[in-house]
Symmetry: C2
Subunit: 377 residues, 2 copies
Amino acid sequence: MAYATIRDVARRAGVSVSTVSRALNDSGRISQETRDRVRQVIEELQYVPDSRARSMHSLHSQAVGLLIPDIRNSYFADLAYSVQHELLRHDLQTLICTADDRPDQERTLVGNLLGQHIDGAIVVPSPSPSPAVDRLLRQGIPVVYIDRTPSAGPDGQTGRVPVVDADPRSGLRSAIADLHAQGHRRVTLITGSLEDSDTLRERRRVFERELSRFPDMSDPQTQDPGIRLGWEPGSTARNARLAAVLKERGTTAVVFSRSQDAIEALGTFQGAGWVIGRDLSLVSFDDLPIFSLLTPSISVISQQVDRMGAVSVATLLRLMKGEEARSLRLETRYIRRQSVGPSPGSAAGVTAPPGTPVLPNGRRVCKGQPGGTGNDP
Amino acid sequence: MAYATIRDVARRAGVSVSTVSRALNDSGRISQETRDRVRQVIEELQYVPDSRARSMHSLHSQAVGLLIPDIRNSYFADLAYSVQHELLRHDLQTLICTADDRPDQERTLVGNLLGQHIDGAIVVPSPSPSPAVDRLLRQGIPVVYIDRTPSAGPDGQTGRVPVVDADPRSGLRSAIADLHAQGHRRVTLITGSLEDSDTLRERRRVFERELSRFPDMSDPQTQDPGIRLGWEPGSTARNARLAAVLKERGTTAVVFSRSQDAIEALGTFQGAGWVIGRDLSLVSFDDLPIFSLLTPSISVISQQVDRMGAVSVATLLRLMKGEEARSLRLETRYIRRQSVGPSPGSAAGVTAPPGTPVLPNGRRVCKGQPGGTGNDP
DNA sequence: TTGATTTGCGGTATCGTTACCGCACTGGTA
DNA sequence: TACCAGTGCGGTAACGATACCGCAAATCAA
């Protein structure tokens, strides 16, 4: 015998299935005595109500789909963790689906989710509009986009889907201010070649705007700070070229739009004899776990992944209750670590002169300044 | 109107629900003409069969639970990815559950899984026996343990649950052989303080045994190669102490049982002025993505995570079909990278003399020797 | 032409659970 | 005694899909 059913419990307790159901859900009228007896039988039989049958009746499956590109990417893993945690707090089950950026797989997975009659979905939208996600929307399933703002759909707009993502401005502003205070005047942003990614494009735009707030950083040589090399991972030639370009420009500090690029370039810089934090200061987007473990520890612009998970769940819950929900941009935070030091040949940075030992993993968090989100004067 | 049902399709196609069901499953006798018409209506209505209702009837839910300690750990994320991928190939859905090593959460999650009437489960067992997993077993649900061999249960034995894990021997043998060939004679294993972890204990035992195969490596000073410091992460004092101990012992090469420790210590070593791969050679367990990106790239003993996922799924499928399934140990592989070089002051290592540039990310894979798994002469 | 077989399809019980209806019994009031 | 409200519980119809039974019509053999 595999699973015990409500009928088995009823038989053994000498009551009807209705009574067992009442004992389970604390609904309707039932005597204390009967309830205790039924509960005891439930314990004895290790009975667990069949959530499939239950949800068929109630029209709610208590399940939410989470669609991400790749669970192996530690950023998305963090995201999945916080979303799952938050949903669990609301007695909702998370169905994690890794679409691998493959439309056919996404199709299959969304089909599975629809088959399970999920109550809602949290989706990391792919760069190109996804027909699979459109299917979710057409079914009227509440959807929240997370992490990325999708480009306008084929039918003109992204619809009324709320987006929860990170605003790079606050973090970039703090980072650039810190670099400026440390005497850096030539700061270069290194963005990927993925210029079809809205996220990277925005980071570049905001970087330029924030840089221009400091007149002495806006000389012609750094006017176009974006370097877009043929940025395939693991390319030795590319890394060498990057180092040459930085030297030529007289760059003393770099900001990486993509954490993976930072990790790779790190080795190249060290291999070229540069001491990170002294000869070259370095800031990366995304606070990966290893960044605080490495020596020197890496300064980052953090996305507050855990909050993003919590907020997206809250937004989804609103939608599921039929309430209105608005898009929300979370502040990014600049976290200063050892990889940022005073600019070489500069009188600045008295607070941390060269050679001063810094505690490993020591953090100095610089919160992004609060303020309006998006509307510039 | 939310979801279309089989009845909606039947009405619209002018047939009975039985006929629609036949068109869906290609079962029973149905004319080509009718099937096409029904299929077209299914397209029009974007109908997706309700897998809950379907599975209620068939006694199979087509869902498998995956119980892991933490999805944020990139090792488990890799594992989850390969398991999910492999299950998807067999039209099975994966329900990823992160137990956080918290028994109460594990209880809740297993309860959910039972409520969904999962067809099977793949479980990374916790160090201590888990009552939640016992519940799965008592329900007669097929279970496969993965990655860790659980200690004997409270009732004497682990039962007839197959285990799919990694055999550290092949990788350690290759690693030690390579280190020996490079002239290293003092090799130290750095294991965590978690001596209640069977995995770490075994790695230590095997390390000692493999080391003793080389008489010139087994002098009294390295007889007890395990260092067990108060190994809390982020402790500066600990890292300094580690460096001192290594210097005192004359260690020229270290092997880390835990990848996280390797990452942390890496910075300390470099901070102490040591050049990894020249002054000190370094090998770590687990092939994390960053290890091949760092400079110098880190030599590792890899667990073949993708194969582990595939094999555990295959094992589970056997159990689900009612067939017998045996435990299996997968070979670990030694992957040599830049972090291993000739021992300082040694004539060995002619193939890679000091100073010879090594290509970034250049791999030289040394397969562990095949052989019997576990039975020593 | 008759009987047997095959083909195509509809009706219905069933999976496990909950919501609703309604019955029997108790106890209080007129 | 008759009436009524309240309590505790059982019976049953859904939820959506499938498997089985069985009925017509078509096809075939004799």
